[in-house]
Symmetry: C2
Subunit: 432 residues, 2 copies
């Protein structure tokens, strides 16, 4: 993918470097390179940094896809395939924007600084270090950053995003026997790792979504009446949620509570179990070593370190209470901080005008439940405003089967990205 | 495998039929045929029925095998490969016994009636029906049955087995959204099936192995002093358990308690979760539909039907208490009854003499924690004694990685099977 992007952009006249990052920690596997690019070097123009990622979530036809996930197909006005909306589509959007300007014979309005990585779905390994190392070199002179890697809240109204949750991803591993055992022969004689693990996982969060780990909710910034008011005008209905999830499995009955649960409160999700029997059918095995995976989405003012202390302390306490002879290890696999910006900045103003010009409506200003930790790194290291300008819709199915990007969102998306650059080139520099 | 066995036995002069069983229930998949065979038709000889199975548990190198699981290798005096001990090895043992008699020019002492199936690891689909249908036809005249499909209790002392536990295998499925969701976007807004499932599973059994489902322990036959005394002489030590599991994760501190937990008490094991994230790495998914797999090993006088009522009622009660908007289904995937015989029968006496002749020691009389439901069906339908005469050792790793059968157990095992047939041919017909 990195080489493909390099090829496309080089053909358009951009200067591209593939920055190697060494091995993934604890492995002998090369990290995928970061694509660093620059299109235009005019000192009279503003420098706009755009970020995207070319890696995607895993996908198998057996997961339930209607089509081959790694073959992009156009179907009912939708581009269907893994990465269509998260985030290969938007990366292609920036490339198409350059192409469109060249074909239309219109001067590109800014110097485009590009950073496309390949480890976003696994915690952006190596990217933070690169940004820190390059802040006064490759990234020098950047005036504002635009990230196109999230989604509209619903399915019909464009949004600009000024806040995201952080994410701390954990594995809790329980191991006992040296190899899997036959449950007929050993069932009842030995302590089973999967039984222990199930007990631990069930004590992390209630079926109603309440986090059972003490200390986490205490770190959450209290809701003020002013903040609560912001939620009144958001164009979102419970029907959007029902449509996006294909179910009525909502934990809250109102739009406001649902959006707050997504944007301003932490949540804990269970993802799965590694090492246990996971295939169809009936296998009578006692798995020897099992890892439960869970993650916590974080919000102001939870810090990953304090969170980690709460999680570690609690899981160890639960473990001691189980009184098992097995071994347990709780491990932070990766973390990323939440981010909260101000939508008054000229960078947001440019995106607002672009949205209005293309979609004929004012965008909603939203926060995001998902995590793009690099947002915060760009803001903190480059000391410049970061804007999230999403291309896809809330029902695109990122990380799910049959991921899609509506064709109109792609076409109008490329137009919006392009218009944003034109407004960003001339917008008076104001705002926090 | 069925065709391979047919080929081997036909070449030795046996009459072989591959009995087709139709489709697997609820699928369009052909069931593997049952191999029905007969070697010898002498009305003056006894008819001994032998049973084995040619199907095996799933196995992948990635599970942690040191060698390719479906390539038999000889290593340090062991035959290593999936099925070496469970149960392809023993099936080959019967074939080799015929072969050995032919090569040595010794008359085969009995008419050997053979039944080798291919669905044992999934509940012996179709076999019970076949036995019922053929009891007065193919199986007519059988004098006794010998099953070679279990293991010594430890690693050094041969055993004969007169009891086995039953097994009822369940799936409990929780489903909510129509497809997997991104935990960043939907985490906190929706009820997560895997959270619900984890709560259900954690309420089935304690980390100390206590079954939490009411009613099951009430069905267990109380322990009498006479029965307890039987456990005093069994050659088994906690070190055997430590060696077999490669750990000290024993639930009980004494041999007697451990063996009772394995032989005469029910146990509940958790096997895994289907539909959740099960690969290495960190995927931020909310799985849409997950199935937890668990099984209960049953003992006298638990009946599968009464057990099923207890399980179903309890899981439904737990489910209601969770108050989830998701859907839950508890399903019995397969069941098999326990079996308890008397070791005083001439069939056991023949096997005891054979063991003594080959291994130079008297066998221990044991029960088995695993389940071979067909044992009971043979006994009930044919009204003749069934004997379990194991070939492998307690640390063979059936259902686990690096499954093996010691070479000496194979060689002496074939000798024991052969000697058993010779004693069975002449043993006075006495015993319950």
């Amino acid at each position: 993918m990195a080489h493909f992007i390099k090829g496309e952009l080089t053909a358009l006249g951009a200067e591209i470097e593939l920055r190697e990052l060494g091995k993934q920690e604890g492995t002998n596997v090369d990290l995928p390179p970061i694509v660093l690019g620059r299109y235009g070097n005019d000192p009279k123009k503003r420098n706009i940094l755009v970020y995207g990622h070319y890696d995607v979530q895993p996908a198998l036809v057996e997961d339930g896809w209607d089509t081959e996930p790694f073959q992009l197909v156009e179907k009912d006005g939708k581009l269907v395939g893994r990465g269509s909306t998260d985030d290969k589509g938007p990366v292609m959007g920036w490339i198409n924007s350059i192409q469109a300007h060249q074909k239309a014979g219109i001067e590109f309005p800014v110097n485009l600084v590009m950073c496309f990585e390949g480890m976003e779905e696994y915690g952006s390994d190596g990217l933070d270090d690169l940004i820190r190392a390059e802040k006064d070199k490759f990234f020098k002179g950047v005036d504002a950053t635009c990230i196109c890697d999230n989604y509209w809240l619903g399915t019909s109204h464009p949004v600009l995003t000024y806040g995201i949750r952080g994410c701390s991803y954990y594995s809790v591993t329980v191991s006992g026997p040296s190899a899997d055992l036959h449950s007929g022969i050993f069932g009842g004689m030995v302590s089973e790792p999967l039984i222990d693990l199930t007990h631990i996982l069930s004590k992390l969060v209630s079926p109603q979504g309440k986090i059972l780990i003490p200390g986490i909710m205490d770190m959450v910034v209290p809701l003020t009446p002013e903040e609560e008011k912001l939620y009144d005008d958001i164009k979102y209905s419970m029907d959007d949620l029902y449509a996006a999830t294909g179910s009525k499995t909502n934990l809250f009955d109102t739009e406001k509570e649902s959006l707050m649960a997504r944007w301003r409160y932490p949540t804990l999700s269970l993802h799965g179990v590694e090492g246990a029997f996971s295939a169809p059918g009936a296998k009578t095995v006692i798995p020897a070593k099992v890892s439960g995976k869970f993650s916590i989405r974080t919000v102001p003012n939870i810090t990953p370190r304090e969170l980690d202390e709460c999680v570690s302390k609690y899981v160890n306490t639960v473990w001691k209470e189980l009184g098992s002879k097995n071994k347990m290890e709780i491990k932070l696999m990766h973390d990323g901080m939440w981010w909260l910006s101000s939508p008054d900045h000229w960078n947001f103003e440019a995106a607002k005008k672009a949205t209005k010009a293309v979609w004929k409506v004012d965008p909603d200003f939203t926060r995001e439940g998902g995590s793009i930790p690099v947002t915060l790194t760009f803001e903190e290291e480059l000391k410049k405003n970061v804007l999230l300008l999403p291309m896809g819709r809330g029902d695109d199915g990122a990380h799910s089967i049959n991921e899609k990007l509506d064709l109109i969102n792609y076409i109008n998306g490329v137009k919006t990205l392009s218009a944003y650059l034109h407004y960003a080139a001339v917008q008076p520099m104001a705002g926090a």
